[in-house]
Symmetry: C2
Subunit: 179 residues, 2 copies
């Protein structure tokens, strides 16, 4: 499912332009506000756990994508996270030092540092994703599967078209543990 079910939008008859425009604009504003409030809620549970361990949201993201892609290189992680090398280094260094992430030289290219979670890292990542999943799970369950399909379509379409396919391939494609 690299491309969500796209349907050409049905009715778009701007005869009463003023009224339709107002409604549309209003819906867009509502959508933006929902995005703000939902994201704040979405991050708050893991944030709480992280704060107790003196980590931040960036550590969660690193743990998550290393867990998703064991053996990923620093460069690969940088590309997914879309941050600078220094920003990642600041996050990665304590994770390695604290024994949550293993950083081992690549066999083919020994310049690379291939990143994997240790048992400790998996444990924290699991705790973090659990609380986040619980929230998401409640929302998905109460909203129903059709609503979830809509949610997936809309969020996917918010991503830049250039980057979308690559991101969706990653989100929907790669297994947790590449066999």
């Amino acid at each position: 499912m690299a491309t969500p079910t796209l349907r050409p939008n049905p009715k778009k008859s701007p005869r009463r332009g003023d009224d339709r425009l107002f409604l549309t604009e209003r819906k867009l504003r509502e959508g933006a506000e929902l995005m703000f409030f939902a994201y704040r809620a979405f991050t708050q549970d893991p944030d709480r756990l992280l704060h107790a361990r003196n980590y931040g949201r960036a550590h969660h993201r690193a743990l998550h994508f290393i867990g998703r892609r064991p053996g990923i290189s620093v460069a690969g992680l940088l590309e997914i996270l879309g941050i600078t090398k220094q920003s990642l280094a600041r996050v990665l260094k304590p994770l390695v030092e604290d024994g949550l992430v293993d950083s081992i030289p690549g066999e083919e290219d020994r310049r690379q540092r291939l990143l994997t979670l240790t048992a400790l890292g998996r444990a924290l990542e699991s705790d973090l994703s659990r609380v986040q999943r619980e929230r998401l799970s409640r929302a998905f369950r109460e909203a129903g599967s059709e609503a979830v399909a809509g949610f997936r379509a809309v969020t996917a379409l918010m991503i830049d078209e250039d980057a979308r396919d690559g991101i969706l391939d990653m989100v929907y494609g790669a297994p947790d543990r590449p066999e």
Copy 2:
């Protein structure tokens, strides 16, 4: 993944609840990742405009909700934004000094500072929301109205139940310009 499903997980028996659980878990992970990538995309256009003016995301949020609720008090804004007084003050002060926000004492309660956008403030807020709306508009249009309904349902349900009604009243209730 909270349970010992650490293995490559070859296809399990499809009739047992196990498989349903696996699929659900996978969908939840996908949903979380979509949320991350969508939110990053969602904020990037206004962020670019803000950075050019030496403002940040917090300034956008303040401008937005003052525009939404002209005459809102500092306490009211604090409650919506869910940040501390000092965090808001740091953002609000330059906005008032730069002439984007008017801060006038309340008539009934003169301790209050009632906040409104100036013409300048409306202009910037309009620029910011325009670029954000364009992205949202594309996503909503291409996803279709059913998908948008699903998006709204799911994002709303992500919000804490305690706070949900109050937030939704604000999102769906109050008009831009109370008249």
